[in-house]
Subunit: 237 residues, 8 copies
């Protein structure tokens, strides 16, 4: 939609039209964090073009749910020597984001079971890509409370807590009763039968008796991490 950067040194245009997608370059200024690219449904070439464009202007680009094939293609481009792919999280970054001032403390990512790890890893990778320290505390489901209480000090040391759980989704309620920090609940599609692809966990978290729990979409580790950064950066403003 916009033409090329004006040769006279004026501010760069806020948006570039790549024909198949408008890359929103003003977003970082407006909402504090730049646009994040959603991988599925894009060809490797499309993904590479969008990320290169973002990286060239912002010095940083982040994509989620990136397949190994997409990641390999993007990493092979000459302009993307800086690419970094976390396979367990399916997160791909170009460059680093170094918030100024830095984001204080850590965000804890608490996962109920090993099957919930992909979502938890996505949250951790996004946190770290955005310059936020993160601590992953896994396999502390409510059926064995001593596991959770053994890790309680680590969790209480965090400034924001993301709780990732599938099946009955009970962990956020228990955590919220034990810590005084904001708790973001991320339901997962882990389960079978009456879990209905994560619906049971989602409903459980929305009905949490733990005051102050807020919820993101099923399997949305990215969204939980993004919200945690927005919350934590509030202290720096």
């Amino acid at each position: 939609m916009n033409g090329p950067p004006s040769p006279n040194g004026g501010p760069p245009p806020a948006e570039t039209d790549l024909a198949f997608a408008r890359v929103d370059l003003e977003r970082a200024r407006r909402t504090g964090i730049g646009e994040v690219v959603y991988g599925p449904g894009k060809t490797p070439a499309q993904l590479a073009a969008i990320l290169t464009e973002l990286h060239a202007r912002e010095g940083f680009a982040l994509a989620t749910r990136v397949s190994p094939e997409q990641a390999a293609f993007v990493s092979d481009q000459p302009a993307t020597a800086d690419a970094f792919y976390v396979a367990a999280a399916r997160v791909l970054t170009l460059g680093r984001r170094a918030p100024d001032p830095p984001l204080p403390g850590t965000v804890a990512v608490v996962a109920a079971g090993t099957s919930d790890l992909p979502v938890a890893e996505e949250a951790r990778a996004v946190l770290e890509a955005l310059g936020q320290g993160a601590a992953l505390i896994a396999d502390v489901g409510v059926a064995g409370l001593h596991r959770l209480t053994a890790r309680l000090e680590e969790i209480r040391a965090a400034r924001v807590v993301i709780v990732v759980a599938g099946m009955e989704g009970a962990l956020p309620s228990v955590v919220a009763g034990l810590v005084e920090r904001p708790v973001i609940a991320a339901p997962t599609s882990v389960g079978y039968g009456a879990s209905f692809e994560g619906l049971a966990a989602l409903l459980g978290m929305l009905n949490s008796c733990g005051s102050g729990v807020t919820v993101v979409n099923i399997d949305n580790g990215f969204g939980a991490a993004f919200a945690a950064v927005q919350i934590n950066r509030l202290s720096t403003t």
Copy 2:
């Protein structure tokens, strides 16, 4: 359907036809516990007739979800001097049931919140009417775990544990991880919005990560108690 008792002293007929309802008198012999009457949709007179019939033959009759109006009418009948109504549980009994051999120990009824009490009281009243010792442990929801752990010895002392909870229905998972006894989960319709009248609690309990949890219908305190008695009486056979 059957005629009157045979005059020659043969066994009484197994069933009596009250025109509007067949009273199943053989059931106690067949399944161990006599027929239980469901109150809603019956006129006070119908209810009184059914209970009187059962009581006359079995020495015991039990009805659930009985309104105060129904209870008052039944209690006022000359033949029902023995009637006993637990208003908080909406349970009405005629006579007492004294299992022989007696049912050992207690069944714990653990309730998450005060709003879950009507269902928990129904469970307790049915347990006691069937001759089973019961202990009600209330207001021990997962958002304040210290409440639950403070009562843990009482719960562990029971032979069977009924857990009653609405909203996210997380309590059975936590309890099942802490005790080694059979846990029966009874979801309640307590909640609002995305609780969808108890659906969230029901799904949570069905997906419990706590091994061995079984589930009854929403608000079905009676069913949980009945199952607990069937389980506990197994030890006496």
Copy 3:
């Protein structure tokens, strides 16, 4: 469950058993904010007893979804001269909470339509009761964007933004694209037909394309406010 306070000046017990409800007095120390009482299903006398107990120990008590009848009864008790009832929000408080250090700035409560006001008012009343400055910005639904943009500076001036909307629940997505602060979305049951009592708004908000939006239960103005306070007080620690 606990006995009376020990006469020798030791620390007060963390919990008092009122027979029908355990009042959790340690909660303020543990999670930063004291227990909040849910009004429905409690008799006026029960509600008065619980709130009086909390107030006596904490200097502050807060109840939500309180009916005018409940509020009148509580206010008429000699021990509750300090009671304050916000009818539009159905929120009742005894005493004031003055966080130390104070909570900075304001939380904006943005409501889409006039029918969403009860939920928005609940959020505002809870914010103010917890010592958090609040600004209510109403009737700025997405069908007339100029209404929203006219209030944008007010919204951007807040530290946290609560967005309350029923029907299609589109407002949080739009707001999240315009501000750089944490956005908490509170769906309401406003609507008819295919709104399915707030389900449409809830699903819309969970699928928000606005990064960082987190969601609470349908009609849960209290939960949104509680989460906002937990988020904002992070800056003071």
Copy 4:
């Protein structure tokens, strides 16, 4: 069902029975636009036969959701030299339709995200196949309103507006508040988790606070385009 055309020059039969499908040739006369063929579940040979029959009589045939394999087979038939396949839209046409009088102006197809493009392309291809000028305005989702407002004049210049969106489906409400033309909302199955394959977008659009928005089935770009043509041709009658 009908025999061959009568040799005496009478009107051709209104319908031909191809054994596996009745081709409705009277439809164009009755409803203004001829029968449109749905591709899935038909063999390439069946599809070719149906389209050839329609084309021979009407001079025009249109099929939707046509796979590349189906399209290649049909295009390879000697009788279908006129075939035209829009791969991005999965739409296949034989011949052209030139409405007389011509359809005035353009129909805007507004798409929220790049993942919504297949449905939007289907709508555009059907519009153009039916002789209606079309303008595709993509990647203008509500999370970045400046993208939408930058294209507003293009949208306002259209006579009918089709809005294609997945996830929360909020775009039609926003567009309907900004233009004075009929708005047809086409939800897509884009999303994950609580999008429930497009249900969230569908419910959002049905509950749109934007007056006058009407809705078609999930992923039904064809239906939206067909309705837009029916609406716009009203001006020519």
Copy 5:
């Protein structure tokens, strides 16, 4: 938000803030039809104030789902001598709207059964209030097709057809196959059991095999009428 009209004859402000609701006075200019007020949840006094304000500036005001009590109160105000209430439709108008140029022809409102009449009447009343000629054709459900075909000429004479049906919602498909005009389907909550308050009719209409059918929310006669006017006025521009 805005002050009073400037005394120096400048244009009136686009919006007036009535404290509890922002009345959008620019809307008529922007979208072609002024704001329509939704009655439920407003006090009679609030409704009267909003309608009076709209009427004073626009010469016309329209409210839907107005109860007889609300209507009586508004009609009794001195400033609303011009009020007109259609009880069967629950529609209240102040003043008349005379579109210039006038809206051509009629819009047919076709209703399946007598129970669907309230929704059909709402549609008709809104059409007439907006200056659109309307024809109500009732009790022509698909179980007796001869009823429908007997009225077919009337329906075909209309420029736009609104089809109102509950239960299985089959009528729009049948009508769309018989007319060449835009068909707007309005499902109703008429039915019981597996109609699930109109869900069956809604799903039926969304899946209509009749090309070009678009759908509004359950029981939304107003929305169907509003869309029909937007469609028909296209011919006048």
Copy 6:
């Protein structure tokens, strides 16, 4: 479970235990039609064994949803020279069933669209296998009523009418209004989006305004045919 036939010529046992499945040989005597075997989930060898057993005793065996691989294996067995497979219907029979007295007249199988043919063919194949004359009338959906009315005499000539339709499932209502025979509605999973795999058609048929319509499960052509035979054979008893 039973041993081999007694050597002394007594009646053959009513059931044979094939270890993995009990073949119910008494069923034909009890319900009038023998057991029908459901193909999915059985190995070709299991299916062959069950069908051979049934055929040996009853002179007839019928299986539905049989894959081509299963059918090929069964047909290749020496004992099953009599096997007959209708690929379009996925129905496999061994032997013929010749009811005595014969079943009168025909059952019409009316299908809305070409995509509904597999279910309609299953119904027809089962009818014919059970000795019932059948007539298939396809592609007569409600969007083109003249197609249906052109075949009306054929349909009215049948004794029972099975109506097969997906999408909105409107055809049974229309047919039931035109014929005086029992109508059995068979919804199909044909459709996309809000058809929810046949749910829309199922709900539409359950809410049919056509009196006397009864419904079977989604895609259950077999069940519709079986019910039709049970209905029609009533005339022979």
Copy 7:
């Protein structure tokens, strides 16, 4: 819509327009049974007018779900001396229907529990009003099979069997395995919690493993009876 009967002795018009409802007088000729009137949503006066009109021409009129108030009003009209109201079934008839030839045998109405009786009574009353002999067999739910088997001869003596059940809706499967007659399953809304107003029973019946079971809408005793008569009268043609 039609004028009065022509004075010259021609056939009476097929339909009369009562302004608020078209009474379909040709229906009896077309489908074998006259129009049946649905009571809810009609004023007593409207109902009286419709029934009187039907009765005057057909000698018979039938209405379902008639309230006692409606029935009393209709019965008090001078022209309706012949009115007959079955309160337990909420069915009102004017005149009698005497099919010629008479309908053979009986239809059994089998009801699972006493709470299902209103639906069963509706079925029985409609059967008898249409001239079909009926037998009501109540309180034979599957939890006490001996009750059912004790009545089996009565059920097997019927020509068609209607099975009415709520809760889990298991009775039709059991009955279908025991009889060789057509079984029509009528789910009821009896139950609570996860019965979801009859959804559980409906789904159970649709998935019945009993071959040949067909299903009507929840609580639709009328529909089951109507279908049974259509089925049974087949033997007379």
Copy 8:
């Protein structure tokens, strides 16, 4: 989390951290039965490591839903010579569990159809692995009651009864009416169309009219077996 066993002979640590999963070794002491491993989503190497660890300490390890590939890998490890895989049940065990005192009697696993066998086999394999005698009674669905009654003595001889059924899930109600033992209902996803992947069977079982029936998740044969063991071992304590 814990280090290696202390060299000085103290008690072994209660939990070992395998980095990707915490193996809970205290569980057997706490709940009576050791941790059971869920196979899906684990690599063969991960599964082998977890099971070896459990086996080394407990002398027993059990995993469910284990694929043949996983089982082959685990069995090939030198340390797992004791591995035993039940392919039909997808259950893998290392070592044997010999409860002391032994578990009395048998648990019956009653399955409705052959398609339900995988779930029933899982239940049987888990029972046997836990040292509980089991009896599998298959293919006794309610459509042929004589099959069930022929096996009744076997079922009545069991101490606990697990009932496995898909489709309408009616079998638990029937069984519960015939036996006096605890009945655990396990719904399966067997069925199609309106079975909605086991939802119909689940709802049927939750609404069972058979008193005392409790329910586990869809396809959860493991959970049913685990609960049965917890119930039966009660008699030994």
